[in-house]
Each structure stands twice: as C-alpha cells, then as structure tokens.
C-alpha cells in the first residue's frame, strides 16, 4: 500500500492518494486506487488522543469550518467547530474528509477513472456507508492515529458514525449520532427515488455522461434538491419562515411565476445547489443511504462483535420536528444499546426546525456536545 499526501491549493484541501490498494467494496467491486480530500483543524496532541472525525451529511463536504472555496461561504458546521466552539479546536484535532463517491475532491463519479482521461460517470461502482467508513479508516490509519476520541455526524454523517461503532469499535472511544437511524425508512427511500428520477429524466443526464459535452442536468438536479430540501424542514418552520407571503409583489399573478416566497426560496436552493454539486454523486450517495440497514443486525453486531466494543460511549440526539429521521428511530438504537447495558445517552431536543436542526442554532445541542466531549475527554486524560 502506497499513500501519498498533497495539498490542492484550488480546493484548499489536503489530498491523500491510496495507490494500488484494491479497496474491496460491499458490492464486491474493487477500486484499485482512490483519493480522499480532507481538512484538519486544531493540533494533534503528543499522545494522539484528541482526534475527532466529523462525518458530513449527503450534500456536505470536508469544509466543516473556515472558508469553503467551492461556495465562497463559511464551512457547513462552522457554528459547531472552531476555537472555543462546542467542538473546540483549541482542544481537539478535527478531521473531516469528503466521502468516497462525493464531489469535492475525493474519488467519485466526477473524477477521472484510474489511468484514463475519462471520468467515471455512471461507471462508478455502487458505494455504501460501510465503504465510506472503510476508506475513512484507511485515512485515519495513514495519519498515524491509532484511536479516534470521537466520531461525530448528523443524518448521513450519523450513519457513518454508527458504522464506525460497528466496524471499528477498537479504533474509537465514543460516537455522537445526531438525527440518524438504524435504517433508511421506506418513506426516505421514496423521497430519494423521486430526486433520482428527476435527475435521470433530465435529457441532459444522458446515462450519467453529461460531462462529455460539458453539460450539467441542472433542471433535474435542482428539482431533486428542492424536494429534498422540503424534507429537511418542518411544516411549522416553513410556516414561520414564509407563511403565504408573496415574493416581490403585492398581488398574485394568476400564473406560474414564483408568487410565493416559499417557491422563490426553493428555486434558489435548487439553483445554488447545481453550482456546487455533481448530479451523479447525488445519485450514488442517495443510494448509499438507501442501502443502509442495521435494523435486524445492529444488536447482534454489537453483542457478538469480534472487536471489543464494551468501552464505547454513545450520545444519540434527535429533534422533535424531524420527520425524516424521527425520534422513534433514534430510540430504537438507544433501546438496543440499553438492553445490552451499554453506556448510552439520549436526548430529544425540542425544536420546530426539522431534520436540518443539527446544522442550525440549537443551544441545547451545543451544550450537550460540548459537555459530552469535554467531560469524557477529561476522564481519559486522568
């Protein structure tokens, strides 16, 4: 195994190249070489005990904090990660990598196939959450970190955190699992399918080969984003934010312009998403989430793991208004861990902001994450 590190100045990211590694995927396919784009924040301490891996959600990237050169905006969790923030980079060394199959510098459908000048496109192999985590574990290993103090993620990031607990419990001490579930529900798969159909029925998609003519299936991808965005909010939050307010007009137009503010907002969300996200990546990553299912196996995996996992601490957080990953799904994880007498904490935060709450201003989430990390870190430091 050969690992090479470079810095991509345009992406403002570190890139780790894993060459001739023959990464075997859950599907049975093999990727012989791959790369992961990642960012780090803070300093690794001498004992290497303060490393935290943050896992991003479906449309996230490695830019947790600081500037995101792709969007020109602040990182997606800059309110959570940074000096004196709940995940305090004065104390912790935070790593975040773009997932395998992503489109912010890691190997994915947008990148060139190994040894050729053609992008993968639709030829990219099917990726699962387990595969993403396997790739992350190789990255952590290549950084010479034996044990992560914590793996933290919301939504698809929570899936990765849970997968870490199942596959590599010996390499972590705790996980913070926010707005996730043991499985992707039928309703969630259904919403993803509508999004994928929107992309695939865009004539520009061309079986994933749109890049050959330097085109982007903008309409399809933006519709997919608009649908998904609705599922991230809640009825109350939408009502509070938009109500039936009209956009830049006093009376309705009796036409199909964006009369309502909520329409205009969704159109904007769709449009800006197209500028930063690859349509094929969206197909692959939504599929990875759909395939995530530990409903039947989680308890057995934890109870009979060949890797010792008794030491693991779990913090599970859900939100009252999250209907995409409702509290009941989090409670299933808590129930199973409690039935095995594991060290689990659980909190349902009261908010109307829906699934996206974990990215937004939620003081109780900040307090709980900060306290959980600080106090548990003090315990290992003793």
């Amino acid at each position: 195994m050969k690992i090479k590190f470079t810095t991509d100045t345009k992406l403002e990211s570190e890139i780790a190249y894993f060459e001739n590694i023959n990464l075997k995927l859950e599907s049975g396919d093999i990727i012989d070489s791959f790369k992961l784009a990642f960012k780090t924040y803070g300093k690794l301490n001498a004992d290497k005990t303060n490393a935290i891996l943050v896992c991003h959600a479906l449309t996230g990237d490695q830019y947790v904090a600081g500037n995101n050169p792709i969007t020109g905006r602040e990182g997606w969790w800059s309110r959570m990660v940074g000096p004196n923030k709940p995940i305090d980079t004065n104390r912790f060394f935070v790593i975040c990598s773009n997932v395998l199959g992503g489109c912010a510098g890691s190997t994915g459908p947008k990148e060139l196939q190994n040894g050729s000048d053609v992008a993968y496109g639709g030829n990219f192999p099917s990726i699962t959450i387990k595969d993403m985590v396997k790739a992350q574990s190789l990255l952590i290993e290549s950084l010479n970190i034996e044990k992560l103090f914590s793996v933290i993620g919301g939504s698809m990031g929570a899936m990765q955190a849970l997968q870490w607990a199942i596959d590599f419990p010996d390499k972590i001490l705790n996980i913070i699992h926010i707005a996730g579930a043991l499985k992707h529900s039928a309703q969630n798969i259904a919403f993803h399918e509508v999004g994928r159909q929107a992309i695939m029925s865009d004539p520009i998609w061309k079986n994933g080969k749109y890049f050959e003519n330097n085109e982007v299936p903008e309409r399809g991808l933006s519709v997919a984003r608009m649908i998904a965005h609705i599922t991230y909010l809640s009825e109350n939050a939408m009502h509070r934010k938009f109500g039936r307010k009209l956009q830049s007009r006093d009376i309705i137009s009796f036409g199909f312009d964006a009369d309502f503010q909520v329409e205009s907002y969704l159109r904007y969300q769709g449009k800006s998403f197209v500028e930063r996200f690859d349509a094929n990546s969206y197909l692959y990553l939504t599929r990875a989430m759909d395939y995530f299912d530990h409903d039947e196996t989680f308890r057995k995996n934890i109870e009979f793991s060949h890797n010792p996992n008794n030491h693991l601490k779990y913090l599970i957080v859900s939100f009252t208004s999250d209907w995409l990953f409702p509290t009941i799904e989090s409670k299933m994880i808590v129930n199973q861990l409690n039935s095995l007498s594991r060290e689990v904490s659980f909190l349902e935060i009261d908010t109307d902001k829906g699934h996206d709450s974990f990215l937004l201003e939620e003081p109780q989430l900040d307090d709980v994450i900060k306290g959980f990390l600080t106090n548990n870190f003090a315990k290992i430091d003793e």
């Binding site: 409690n338 007498s341 659980f346 909190l347 900060k370 106090n375 003090a378």
Partner: protein, 227 residues
Amino acid sequence: MNKINSLRKDWSLIETLIAEDRKILDIGCGDGGLMEQLEINRNAITHGIELNRDLAANAIARGFNVVHGNAELDLSQYSNNSFDYVILSQTLQAMMKPKDILSELLRIGSKAIVSFPNFGHWKIRLQLLISGRMPVTESLPYTWYDTPNIHFFTIKDFLNLCNEMNIVIEKSIGLTSKGKQFDISESVTGVNFFTHEAIFLLSYKNFEPIKIKSSKKVFAKNSVIAN
C-alpha cells in the same frame, strides 16, 4: 479522589445502602447529582433516566450516561439483572402503575432502593382530620389539582404490597420531619405515625437452591423452598 458531600439528606442515606464498585441505574436522575456522588464516593458505574428535557441535557453535558425518557415506558428496554441497584427516589407516588414499576425495578436490578414521603405521617393525618381538606406539607407541597403525586400511600401500605409481591425488605430507614433517622424495622410502635420520609432497600426472596445428591450428579432447583 476526595469524597463529596451529599446535596440531599436522603442521598447520603442511599449512599450508605450501596456497596463499592457497583452498577447503578438512577430513575429520575435529575442533572446527575446522586450519580456524581455515587461515582466519586462509591466508585459506581452509573446510568440514569430523566423525564425532564433540560435536566437530562444538563446531566449529559456533565458527562453522565443519561437517557431522556419516561420510566413508565422505557424500563422494559433494560435486560434482567443488568444492574446491581436500581434507585427510585421520591417518585413512586407519581407513577401511573407503582406496582408494575416496583416489579420492573427488581427485574432490572438485583436490589432496588425506593424512597417516598409517608402519607401516614401525623402532620398529614392531623391536617386532613382537622381541616377536612387534602393536606399540603413541606414534602408534599402541591394542591390536589396540580400535584404530580397521584398515588398516595403510607408505610403500612408499602409493607403490605412488598409482602404480597414476595419482596424482601433488607433495610429500611425512616426520617422524622426534624431529620432524625431511625431503623423502621426495629421501632415497632408509631413508625407509620412519625416517619416523614422512608427509604427501603429491597430484593426478591432469594430461594436457596436445594441440592439433591445422587451418586453421580448434583441436581439443583431454584424454585422450591423446603421448610
């Protein structure tokens, strides 16, 4: 580490009932005060359940293993005998089904510690007798229409229930309203009259296995008592 002082009188009594290095579930753990005390003073491994969201959040932020949930719904998730002690402090009278809770406590834990305010205390009896209205005292400070305490019972009632459920009272501590402490089982007369607050250490009747020796095998049966 230095031992810490109890924040509450009943906590220091609960501590005296608990051995070192045990695994404890604190039901209604608040922000983890008792858990902290037992972790430091008794080297316990603690878990908690708390119904109040803000208290649960505080406890988690202080580093304790706390599940935000409702004991009446969520106790079933714990396995049999997964704790050495299960503590239910000052909440049995607020439960919908106190009897079910009591049997759950002893299913999950090998021992249970239950504390409650005694409704048979003389002040309460006197208030009801004289004023003819539902009593309001320091330990039961709510009016009848907004009280969380929906099942009032006296020490006598509790002892009867334990007897009916084959629960053994290993230790029992009473507190008078002045904070004087005594052993409930030893003081026979007037206990139900003077006890303001009671703390019980409970377990199930432990049936000694009968060993039947044959020439080759030893048979053991747990469910039979030979007198």
